[in-house]
């Protein structure tokens, strides 16, 4: 209560003394906010200290020192080197990367598929638009967990055992342990191909800026997209040919129980990605359709009467305007996909939640584990929405 007393004391000395502070809405508002903040902080402190006291009283271990201990469990798939002898910290990091992998690939595929289905939904072709409508209605209305179970069951019920794998061209194998693909044997030229790719990207970007400037000055257009595609694909290809065009492939071979070598797309990852992408893209398709329909018919007609080709009408007139309607709800769908990826535990994909759960079970430190899960998903969500907000601002109406 002290600050209230102080406040009234200073009021008494100033010019505004005629109005008591409790009749001044601005000051009253400030006081309410301070009090509200204090109550929230106090409540937070109380929860924290109460938890600490009770944990200590029951001699339950607290703190994050456990993450330095040896994890002692294996993880089915990992993007970085990992074995049971590594620490919990590394195990959790493997989980974070696995979640990122499925979220990143899933979000990209969802956007592409969503736009395709959304545009197909508006097609004047009866069959195409009906098919798209059926896709949306069916996938939108089945819970995503059921879809995951369905796809996962398909993988291990329909596909054959490793010894009876389906082979494609003698080097790609499909069985109930997933899809096995050959990879090029490491070669020094691969590094140069990477550099060539970066150079191609940079050149494409510079060319785009130059083309925009030229068009503004002279009105002449330049085929930026096909030219930069040629640069991005052509430069690494050139580097490859210059390096003697090495074609050695590491082909997966059946050894003991499973295939060894090559890369493996596991059924868990496949089912999770498929389930999440199909489910979320149905929502994205509806958002895309709504965005396009939000643009008045007059815009299309005006563009066509200027003599623009239908493709240019879509890319120059409709999409830039539709994107402003599409981006905000799209962001929340992308966030949904990222968060839904935690359903992975139901079908055995070792995402962050799965790894954190095992950690909680082995160490018993549930509070710390759940706090970590919350922080990681919060960071994912904030990064995604931060990026989408930046993109949204870039796409917003620019007044000249």
């Amino acid at each position: 209560m002290r600050h209230l007393v102080k406040e009234s004391a200073t009021d008494g000395m100033g010019e505004a003394a005629r109005v008591p502070f409790w009749h001044d809405p601005a000051k009253r508002g400030m006081i309410y906010q301070i009090v509200a903040l204090a109550v929230v902080l106090l409540a937070g402190y109380w929860v924290f200290s109460n938890t600490q006291t009770n944990l200590r009283k029951q001699s339950i271990a607290t703190g994050f020192s456990f993450i330095e201990r040896e994890a002692g469990f294996e993880i089915g798939e990992h993007l970085i080197d990992y074995s049971a002898a590594n620490t919990y910290a590394r195990a959790l990091w493997v989980g974070v990367l696995n979640t990122l992998k499925v979220a990143l690939i899933g979000n990209l595929l969802t956007i592409v598929l969503g736009i395709l289905v959304g545009v197909a939904r508006l097609s004047s072709n009866w069959l195409v638009s009906r098919l798209a409508a059926g896709y949306i209605e069916v996938l939108q209305n089945i819970p995503v967990l059921l879809q995951l179970f369905f796809w996962y069951a398909i993988f291990h019920e329909v596909l054959p055992y490793p010894r009876e794998s389906l082979a494609i061209a003698g080097s790609i194998f499909l069985n109930n342990r997933g899809l096995y693909l050959p990879v090029p044997v490491p070669h020094p030229i691969h590094a140069f191909m990477g550099i060539a790719l970066l150079v191609g990207l940079a050149a494409g970007f510079a060319m785009r800026r130059w083309a925009v400037r030229r068009q503004e000055l002279t009105g002449q257009s330049f085929p930026v997209w096909s030219a930069s595609a040629a640069l991005v694909l052509g430069l690494p290809l050139l580097a490859w040919v210059a390096g003697g065009a090495p074609t050695d492939l590491e082909i997966p071979r059946l050894q003991g129980f499973n295939f060894q070598g090559g890369v493996n797309v596991s059924p868990e990852f496949g089912a999770l990605l498929l389930g999440l992408v199909l489910y979320t893209s149905a929502f994205v398709a509806e958002i895309v359709r709504a965005g396009i329909q939000a643009i008045s018919r007059g815009q299309t007609e005006a563009a066509m009467s200027l003599g623009l080709k239908p493709k240019l009408v879509l890319t120059l007139i409709i999409l830039p305007q539709a994107l402003r309607v599409i981006i905000p709800p799209l962001t929340s769908q992308l966030l949904n996909l990222t968060k839904n990826s935690s359903l992975a535990i139901a079908i055995g994909y070792p995402d962050f939640v799965a790894v954190a759960n095992t950690t909680i079970n082995q160490t018993g430190q549930a509070i710390e584990g759940v706090a970590l899960i919350m922080v990681v998903y919060l960071v994912f969500s904030l990064l995604t929405s931060g990026f989408m907000n930046w993109y949204n601002k870039k796409m917003a109406l620019v007044e000249r």
Partner: protein, 340 residues
């Protein structure tokens, strides 16, 4: 301003009162005042803790809980079962949602210390094994190099499997699925070469296989899993009660007392039996229970042999032999200290 004062008052009261509330009373008093026990159980593990088709709870862990209720209330039905997952079981006990955890939990050093829990005498000695389709032609767990392994998460199983493969210099690929049913489906569908879990659970999983005879349990047992009821640190009297309720069932079998002959045994001349059944008083008072506590356990629930055979024994679907869980006289580990 009145509102503000009230708010401040509430905050202060919360701060002062909360630690006092957290301290609580003795567990036995709380249980008696409530009128029933709250016991955490598995809920989906045949033979250990699962309701039958009529909704009656059955299992070795369930009967252990009933034994405690019989000792405390002279009524084995004064128990409320709380279904817990591997994730929630210890937290529920720590936060006093339950008085006792009987959920096939393995006793380990860090669980006992870091989690602030006390594991009492084991009511089942288990060990981790491997279940594998016969057609793979594998005869020993030593031949499992490179195998995909289906694992039930959350127990000591994941770590045991990793330890086994590390110590034998083999590699494995774990497939960890949260729910038993989904995991079993993946295994029967051929997603994994082998499934690993406690041997008692493997017997149960094999029993529900489409063709049980197509699967074998490999001979190797790769871990020690003493499954024990669990209580919180800090209430030694309650710990002793639960511990001796488990041991009373073992002692009864050792002494030759069972639910059918317990009334005749009251007239036994053997001083050990007289002390055990409370004919010679002392044990009950020492524990803070009625002198008839052990009599009630045997009469209402049975001795360890009866409970074992009823729930997991050779006449049940699981068909598990006594093995490690036989009396010490018969080469097992079940050994109760003197009841005096």
């Amino acid at each position: 301003m009145k509102l503000l004062k009230r708010l401040a008052l509430v905050v202060v009261v919360c701060l002062l009162v909360a630690p006092a509330l957290a301290r609580g009373g003795e567990t036995l008093d709380a249980v008696k005042a409530r009128g029933h026990l709250l016991v955490g159980v598995n809920g989906a593990l045949f033979g250990f803790g699962m309701p039958d088709e009529k909704g009656v709870w059955r299992g070795l862990d369930v009967d252990t809980a009933r034994a405690v209720a019989a000792a405390v209330f002279a009524d084995p039905e004064k128990v409320k079962f709380v279904t817990l997952t591997t994730q929630t079981r210890f937290t529920a006990l720590q936060s006093k949602e339950i008085d006792l955890l009987c959920r096939n939990a393995t006793r380990t050093l860090t669980r006992e210390t870091d989690l602030g829990l006390n594991f009492v005498s084991a009511n089942y000695y288990d060990g981790q094994g491997f279940l594998i389709p016969k057609k793979l032609g594998v005869k020993s767990a030593k031949e499992l190099n490179g195998a995909s392994v289906c694992v039930l998460p959350g127990t000591t199983t994941e770590q045991n499997a990793a330890d086994f493969f590390r110590s034998t210099k083999m590699t494995m690929k774990p497939v960890v699925i949260e729910q038993n049913t989904e995991l079993n489906q993946a295994f029967f569908g051929g997603r994994c070469d082998v499934l690993t879990s406690d041997a008692s659970q493997l017997a149960g999983i094999r029993a529900v296989a489409p063709q049980p005879d197509d699967y074998v349990i490999l001979p190797e047992i790769i871990s020690k899993e003493p499954l024990c009821p669990v209580v919180r640190h800090g209430d030694d009297q309650w710990r002793d009660i639960v511990d001796f309720c488990v041991l009373a069932m073992v002692a009864a079998e050792d002494l030759g007392v069972n639910s059918k002959n317990v009334d005749e045994m009251l007239k036994s001349a053997d001083p050990n039996i007289q002390r055990f059944l409370g004919v010679t008083p002392g044990n009950g008072k020492a524990l803070g229970l009625d002198e008839k506590w052990a009599y009630n356990i045997v009469k209402m629930v049975g001795n360890y042999g009866e409970v074992f055979e009823r729930n997991v024994g050779e006449k049940t679907k699981l068909g598990i032999k006594r093995g490690l869980n036989a009396q010490w006289k018969d080469g097992g580990l079940m050994y109760a200290p003197p009841f005096k």
